[in-house]
């Protein structure tokens, strides 16, 4: 049996969508004395183990139908 393929889907907020969590992180980093932090955005990474041969189109469909809310989020697929 072929080993499953590892795929990473990275979901990030679209530009222009306010990210209160990112802002809180930015401000906390500044509070810790880290200068030069000009922004922080929070996203999520979803690691999938899928059958070898799964197409990028299939993974895109997964991202569009569930993994990302495309009203507010972008996604990036990294696969071998």
């Amino acid at each position: 049996m072929a080993a499953p393929m590892k795929i990473t889907v990275t979901v990030t907020l679209k530009n222009g969508v306010l990210d209160p969590q990112g802002r809180a992180i930015e401000s906390a980093l500044k509070g810790l004395g880290f200068g030069g932090v000009e922004g922080a955005r929070v996203g999520k990474i979803i690691e999938l183990d899928v059958a070898d041969g799964t197409t990028r189109e299939t993974v895109e469909a997964m991202a569009k139908q569930l993994l990302a809310n495309t009203v507010i989020e972008n996604f990036r697929i990294d696969m071998p």
């Binding site: 306010l18 569930l66 993994l67 009203v71």
Partner: protein, 221 residues
Amino acid sequence: MKAAVIVFPGSNCDRDLADAITKVTGRAPAMIWHRETDLPEGLDFIGIPGGFSYGDYLRSGAMAARSPVMQAVIKAAGQGRAVLGICNGFQVLTEAGLLPGALMRNAGLDFVCRDVTLTVETSQSIFTSRYAAGEQVTIPVAHHDGNYTADATTLDRLEGEGRIAFRYAEPVNGSARDIAGILSDAGNVLGMMPHPERLIEPEQGGTDGRRLFEAAMMALA
């Protein structure tokens, strides 16, 4: 009025919503579990309750929106059945594509749990006909993800088409244009963050929520 309340794992306002419907209409709703693929025949009204469906995994409402029962709800909404989503129910309706936009983490990052003053923006809907446009009512909110977001075109369209049902009288959670509740383009779907089902009888501290259910009953009975 023949009603149903959808129950997801993690729903926690389903019985409050069922009580509200029963008290106002005199008829208890059917409680429909999330794995059902069909709804009872002849439904007039479907309630999607508040809570934390599926533990808010991935995004609030995201998993519930893809559950088997929601496919039946989407179909029923398309046939013109009245659908009311409260709090997590509103999040489910946006995730399911029945309402535009999305509900994000509150701007202040706090879970907001208190009475808020709402302005009724339209009385021209099956849910709001018992309120006067411009009237202020007090209804509680209890949410972490109530920050309504949509692109400017969508927001303009909602305003232009009279589809903003309720607005916060003052900012509560960072919501775009202080939107607290919106209607679908056909007007038969309402999503709102505040909890009208919690204000049905004077013992609950007020009855401002009752008229929403009375309006639906008058329109649908």
